[in-house]
């Protein structure tokens, strides 16, 4: 029977929340096909993540460990996943959508000679002929229904669209993947990763996100948003205009071509809500918008809206929440 392989590319010691959600996706497909789900962890020090993965509802955890996977290039990760794919009979290889997975899974698909779906948000069905999935298209304006019909197929998954399955009582077995020689491409060298210093939760992992647009006028307005974020324990996000202006680092961008998130609460100010921004946050559970312009498109998706100047309203909101918390 052809199975599902969920791939986790490690960027820290443990699994990301998005990896567990991708196991949730993998199980949805596997239940329709009546097959098994395996998890593959890819990194230079994967032991802790493998132990964590073994508690998820998977048959076994494959471990691809190699020095070339520390600051892994897409080519090295492709080689590691392709080697792991030999250790089973996998019809679908999938991973949570991120710049890391978008930087290797299309190479993997070409190496396997199979089709790929990017940013999957729904499983519609799966049988012997096809795996039917749904993904966004046209700047997140529409949904596209597609079918993967290859012998081996590849997908990246919007983790925010799937639930992580509960952990299981018994542990899955852990097996090593045989990797030999160099994994990097001989003509590519990793130079450095300039990490954005994070003093708050990471955007894609946070329950609450406070986000700003052009109306913040940069640091001045973001200072107010950051105070609110710190009170709420929230991550900070930004619109494309803010990042293009250099007010915030590139990886703060929420939107179809930035990060796509679905936190429990998305609170934004001075952000008009361009289509491509809405595509990055419209699945948030509750959306709150503060904007001077009553006609801003962000109000069309907001659960709670306030037409106001953010320079007045945000400090008032912060003060009112702080006061209520101190009183209780």
């Amino acid at each position: 029977m052809s199975d599902v392989l969920v791939v986790s590319i490690l960027t820290g010691p443990g699994l990301a929340r998005s990896d567990a959600a991708t196991v949730g996706f993998g199980r949805q497909v596997a239940e329709k096909l009546g097959c098994e789900v395996d998890l593959l962890v890819v990194g230079s020090e994967p032991a802790a993540a493998a132990d964590e993965g073994a508690k998820l509802p998977v048959r076994r955890v494959l471990v691809a460990k190699h020095a070339d996977l520390a600051d892994g290039t897409g080519e090295a990760r492709t080689a590691a996943i392709a080697a792991a794919a030999q250790q089973g009979d996998y019809r679908l290889l999938c991973a949570a959508s991120s710049t890391n997975t978008r930087d290797c899974l299309p190479r993997l698909a070409a190496r396997l000679g199979g089709p790929m779906a990017s940013d999957v948000v729904e499983v519609r069905g799966a049988d012997a002929d096809a795996i039917a999935l749904t993904k966004p298209c046209f700047s997140g304006n529409l949904l596209q229904e597609i079918e993967l019909c290859g012998a081996r197929n590849v997908a990246t998954v919007r983790a925010s669209a799937f639930d992580a399955p509960p952990e299981t009582a018994q542990s899955a077995s852990i097996e090593e993947v045989q990797l030999s020689g160099e994994l990097n491409h001989p003509r590519k060298r990793f130079v450095e990763l300039q990490k954005t210093e994070l003093t708050r939760p990471e955007l894609t992992e946070a329950d609450v996100v406070v986000s700003g647009g052009r109306g913040t006028r940069g640091a001045e307005g973001f200072k107010l948003l950051e105070e609110l974020a710190d009170l709420l324990g929230a991550a900070v996000g930004a619109s494309r205009a803010v990042v293009d202006s250099g007010w915030m680092p590139n990886d703060f961008q929420v939107g179809q071509t930035g990060k796509v998130i679905a936190p429990k609460l998305y609170l934004c100010a001075g952000l008009s809500g361009a289509i491509q921004h809405l595509a990055g946050m419209r699945n948030s559970k509750t959306i709150v918008a503060i904007n001077k312009d009553a006609n801003a498109p962000i109000f069309e998706v907001a659960d709670y809206g306030l037409v106001a100047d953010l320079f007045e309203a945000v400090p008032q909101l912060t003060a009112a929440i702080r006061a209520a918390r101190e009183a209780s």
């Binding site: 299309p106 070409a110 790929m116 304006n141 300039q194 590139n250 306030l306 209520a324």
Partner: protein, 247 residues
């Protein structure tokens, strides 16, 4: 340096796509342009050529209509155009095979491509092409610096955790991200000159393609969100969020 910049024909950015009753796309009255991410690739190719010398070839896969976008690339300053001719819909892996066939004939030092096309938003053809060619790649470039002798590139990439820098020995594939450059407009003299630039066509049948593995079966609208509530003051908003246990 010989550079190929690929060009896809996509609906103009911010086009509100509409659906037919049967879940198809309404395609009449749509204006097309060069996929914005590919436009960044054409611009970067021109900058590199002007710095290092060489040639920029604009390459597309598609029907006659795609000539319009190739003309745009020529009007921006590309030296010649090449189109792999097909009326059929190709899936990303098939498109990558068609591009790889054309690129093997051209033997460029560098292929520049948009990180994704704004219609299907798959972002796959780029790396599939690199894999088929056996070349290294750099994704989501926000800066491309060539070595003085033009044999390698230092590429800064926009990744989830920050900015990653890699060195590539050419030939290689580089995909562009939003902040790489500001594409130039085609000037009137540029548009007039473009008509006289060489433009070649290769029939798709000259390349061997795999069977299509990806089928598009339909489109549908996003689920609507319920109309929200407008509040009068920050104080009222705070009370509502507290009452709903949202903060």
């Amino acid at each position: 340096m010989k550079i190929v910049a690929t060009v896809k024909r996509t609906p103009q950015r911010d086009t509100k796509m509409r659906l037919t009753d049967g879940g198809g796309l309404v395609t009449d009255q749509i204006q097309y342009e060069v996929n914005p991410f590919d436009e960044l690739g054409v611009e970067e190719a021109l900058v590199l050529r002007d710095k290092l010398g060489g040639e920029v070839v604009a390459l597309a896969v598609g029907p006659d209509a795609v000539n319009e976008q190739l003309q745009t690339a020529l009007a921006m300053g590309a030296d010649r155009a090449l189109r792999v001719d097909t009326d059929g819909e190709l899936d990303p892996l098939q498109t990558a095979h068609a591009l790889a066939g054309a690129i093997e004939r051209e033997q460029p030092d560098l292929v520049l491509m948009g990180k994704l096309a704004i219609d299907s938003e798959q972002g796959q053809v780029t790396l599939m092409l690199a894999e088929l060619l056996g070349w290294p790649h750099a994704s989501f470039a926000s800066r491309v610096e060539p070595a003085a002798d033009g044999s390698s590139l230092r590429v800064t990439c926009e990744v989830d955790g920050g900015l990653e820098t890699v060195d590539l020995d050419l030939p290689a594939v580089v995909t562009t991200d939003l902040r790489l450059n500001q594409p130039r407009y085609a000037s009137l003299p540029g548009i007039l000159k473009a008509k006289k630039k060489p433009s070649d066509v290769i029939p798709l049948a000259e390349f061997e393609l795999p069977e299509a593995g990806l089928r598009i079966t339909g489109y549908r609208a996003l689920p609507a969100r319920e109309k929200g509530e407008m509040l009068e003051s920050a104080e009222e908003l705070a009370q509502r969020l507290l009452a709903k246990n949202l903060v």
